[in-house]
């Protein structure tokens, strides 16, 4: 291949370079479009979570015996389920819990992970070795399996689900935050601060922490998608909370027995999960590009 390229004329090379530029430019446009789309989707989903009553045409608990298992129509855009509930209304009302599990578990997991990482990274030494050893052990267990075990052991409740998903994400946050702390600890300005007599606590709080949070933010944004997915997965597997208004994972699970006769029961909740996770991931990627010091520094 190398040979054939070498004998090609320079003109050909130029045209290839030009086409590459066009591709990149149109690619950027496409990616920007995707990001705007993702933003729009998230905006709408957050609206659904905040004001479900204004968006859903029916009550999510209204069981209409005369309208069970109806395919999508103008009156019921997502069809109706086997209780005679309007699937669209149930999905809209289920947004809050799905989103809540995702956000809460990222916050809890991120905070615990950051705390562990900060302690290990800043104190170093034996403490670091012990903590990171434990984290390594936790990392050998796959995240979803860990969440499953925690959820099964503690029983179904919203708090337990959040904790299960959060704990499964802790090792990742801890490792990233620790390495960030360690790298900042070695920077000259920390040595400078120490030389003018700043205490350990002050250095940590005023100089290390403010400079270490950016990667964690990116990780949390991308982790949000994973958390929503794991939370929905737990609900799907029947480890979630049985409530009047089910979250998306539960809806997916309830409809799967009907998939051959009524595809819409699990397809639409599934699409909702897909769209949300996809959008969050796209935005997370964008955020990472923005905050990446290697990309933005001159």
């Amino acid at each position: 291949m190398e040979d054939t390229v070498a004998v090609k004329s320079p003109a050909w090379r130029e045209s290839r370079a030009a086409s590459e530029r066009v591709r990149i430019r149109s690619g950027i446009r496409f990616s920007a479009l995707l990001v705007y789309g993702a933003g729009l989707v998230i905006f709408f989903i957050v609206l659904c979570a905040l004001f479900p009553g204004q968006i859903a045409p029916y009550s999510p608990t209204l069981m209409n015996v005369d309208a069970i298992i109806q395919s999508p129509s103008l009156a019921h855009p997502f069809g109706t389920d086997y209780y005679g509930r309007d699937v669209f209304s149930v999905v809209v009302h289920g947004t809050r819990d799905s989103l809540l599990i995702g956000i809460a578990s990222v916050l809890v997991g991120g905070l615990i992970g950051a705390a562990i990482g900060a302690i290990a990274g800043f104190l170093g030494g034996v403490i670091d070795t012990i903590i990171m050893g434990l984290i390594e052990v936790m990392m050998t267990i796959p995240g979803i399996l860990f969440a499953l075990a925690v959820a099964a052991a503690m029983g179904p409740s919203l708090f337990n689900i959040v904790l299960a998903v959060a704990l499964s994400a802790v090792p990742g946050y801890a490792r990233v935050f620790r390495s960030q702390i360690i790298s900042i600890k070695g920077r000259p300005f920390i040595a400078a601060a120490r030389s003018v007599g700043a205490g350990r606590v002050r250095i940590f709080a005023r100089h290390v922490l403010p400079n270490a949070w950016a990667p964690l933010l990116v990780m949390a944004t991308i982790g949000l998608g994973t958390s929503i997915l794991v939370g929905s997965g737990l609900s799907f597997l029947g480890l979630g909370v049985i409530k009047e208004i089910p979250d998306w994972g539960t809806l997916l699970s309830q409809g799967r027995g009907y998939l051959t006769v009524a595809w819409w029961m699990s397809t639409f909740p599934g699409l909702a999960i897909t769209l949300l996770v996809l959008s969050v991931n796209l935005l997370g990627d964008k955020l990472r590009d923005r905050l990446d010091p290697k990309k933005n520094r001159i």
């Binding site: 990616s31 069981m63 998608g225 997916l252 027995g257 009907y258 051959t260 599934g270 999960i273």
Partner: protein, 563 residues
């Protein structure tokens, strides 16, 4: 390039979601795939024809794969309490007598019997040619051993204990004659003896295995136990010596035509039915209502449906927990629940609504209760108001500062859509101002039977005789925390009627007694009957001559695999 990478990065996420969504409906028929798993190809069926069979034109051999919806708890008949276990137990074990669908009692391992004039003992003459699978001869000693074993607390007998009531002792009169003595006369006794949970196990094996008999069941039935892989399958094989099948139930009283039956345990309903549709499994039980219509139209499949007998699926209201001890309050509850729409919505017309503590077809069933207690929300609201339970600002009724709540416990997994019943009841009761707290738990045995921590719990029981009511409504039955029966019901009149029904010899008078009991139980709003469970099986059309006994349990003696 980074944009491309992003999309690629998102793909696994998409894939995972679709994988989750599709996991339930896996095992769709892939075209042209042979049924290697079932192992029941026509070629195998023809080649392994057995020479010892008497009827020459019935295709011999082959393996029937039969998917069960849940795993049996025990294969020791005396210790099991699950209907699903009976489907397997029945193939391995025989009973003394057989009950025909019309309720009449016929010979099986006993050839004839005679009741003493006072009704307190039965003398059975036994077949002399019967051998258990381990070679132990069947005789009067074996019968005595079995029934004494059920009474022995060390056996930890389950449902068999109430089935054998009021059995007291047995006397071996000669090698093939046994006399069973009862505490009181019982009209239910003979019928109950026909049930698989009091069938006869090999005394040698029971002595040898003790508690482990459940993993090594040995009976005298048409099939011998081969293996039990936990949560996967139970295999039984043909008993070539079998020659004592009950002619009142099956045509083939000799050895069965099938070489083997593999009972596959497939709890996931879409998978179970999908495997039957694709031909991987030849038969699957408990077809979901939403699939019955489409399967019935499938040219390759057939649907068997047989209503079970005994107690329908019933919601028991726990009277021992306040405020549900109040009969009027329970009557209001009864009027507030629209059972008709629950059954119609969830079972799409494939299950019948239940109206009584007994199912239609059970002796003494009172058909006059049908449509008697109708859903009436206005009546319910009026009753609640009258009792002083008034709606608060949140729409929930309260009295003396206490909110009207109801704790509804149900088991997991979602068998027969029972969890969905809870969800609908929750919505219906919310409309009249009751806050229903639904708890779905795998550990319902602890919550219900040890702690008694429920206001409503639903249960059903397959049984041959209305005497089954005793265990649920007689104040002497203490199945919950050793202190109360399931509804916490104590009514001297019902107790007396149940005792009278047990000893009454005249069937017409017996029927009358059980009708009175049903009327009282419904009048006192002790329960809310929901549905009669039809046992359904979807099977390939190659499965021929599958029969069901009076309790809707499958009989495999006549089954053969056609083309």
């Amino acid at each position: 390039m980074s944009n491309k990478r992003k999309i690629v990065r998102s793909l696994p996420v998409l894939a995972l979601i679709f994988a989750i969504a599709l996991a339930g409906c896996a095992q769709k028929p892939s075209s042209g795939e042979s049924s290697a798993a079932g192992g029941a190809s026509p070629a195998a069926a023809v080649s392994s024809a057995s020479p010892s069979a008497e009827s020459g034109n019935t295709p011999q051999g082959g393996e029937l794969s039969y998917a069960l919806a849940t795993s049996p708890d025990q294969l020791d008949p005396h210790r099991s309490g699950y209907a699903v276990a009976v489907r397997v137990i029945r193939t391995i074990h025989d009973s003394l007598v057989a009950q025909a669908p019309d309720g009449s009692i016929h010979p099986w391992l006993a050839t004839e019997w005679e009741a003493s004039p006072d009704g307190k003992s039965y003398t059975f003459k036994l077949r002399q040619d019967v051998k258990f699978h381990d070679g132990t001869p069947f005789n009067a000693e074996a019968v005595k051993y079995n029934y004494d074993r059920i009474l022995n607390p060390e056996t930890k007998a389950a449902n068999s204990q109430s089935l054998i009531y009021p059995y007291e002792s047995a006397e071996v009169l000669d090698e093939y004659t046994v006399k069973l003595n009862l505490k009181t006369p019982s009209s239910a006794f003979l019928g109950n003896l026909s049930q698989a949970l009091v069938s006869i196990v090999s005394p040698t094996a029971a002595e040898k295995y003790g508690d482990q008999l459940t993993k090594n069941p040995v009976g005298s039935g048409p099939f011998k136990f081969v293996s039990w892989e936990e949560n996967s399958q139970i295999v039984v094989e043909r008993n070539p010596d079998y020659n004592w099948g009950p002619d009142s139930l099956v045509d083939n009283t000799g050895a069965p035509y099938l070489d083997k039956i593999a009972f596959k345990i497939v709890p996931e309903e879409a998978t179970r039915i999908g495997s039957v549709q694709s031909g991987q499994i030849l038969a699957g039980e408990t077809v979901p209502p939403q699939n019955i219509a489409s399967l019935a139209n499938d040219a390759k499949l057939q649907i068997f449906k047989s209503n079970t007998q005994g107690l329908p699926f019933t919601l028991f209201i726990n009277q021992k927990r306040e405020p549900w001890g109040d009969t009027k309050l329970r009557q209001a509850l009864q009027a507030a629940i629209d059972v008709g729409s629950i059954v119609k919505t969830l079972y799409l017309g494939t299950y019948d609504q239940a109206w009584s503590p007994l199912t239609p077809g059970t002796l003494g069933y009172d058909a006059s209760l049908e449509n008697a207690n109708k859903f009436d929300q206005n009546k319910a609201n009026a009753l609640f108001d009258e009792l002083g339970w008034l709606k608060g600002d949140d729409g929930i009724r309260a009295k003396d500062g206490k909110k009207l709540t109801l704790r509804y416990v149900d088991g997991s997994p979602n068998r027969e859509k029972r969890n969905d019943i809870a969800a609908i009841v929750q919505q219906q009761l919310k409309q009249v101002g009751i806050a229903v707290e639904v708890e779905i738990t795998q550990d319902f045995r602890t919550v219900i039977f040890e702690q008694g921590n429920y206001d409503i719990y639903g249960n059903s029981q397959v049984n041959s005789d209305p005497e089954a009511l005793r265990n649920f409504y007689h104040s002497g039955a203490k199945s919950i925390a050793a202190s109360q029966n399931l509804p916490g019901y104590a009514n001297a009149e019902v107790d007396a009627l149940l005792d009278a029904g047990l000893v009454e010899q005249d069937p017409a008078k017996r029927e009358d007694i059980y009708k009175q009991i049903q009327q009282i139980i419904i009048r006192d709003a002790v329960i809310i009957p929901i549905y009669v469970f039809p046992y359904t099986v979807a099977a390939s059309k190659t499965v021929e001559a599958l029969k069901f006994d009076s309790l809707a349990y499958p009989l495999f003696n006549d089954v053969y695999l056609g083309k």
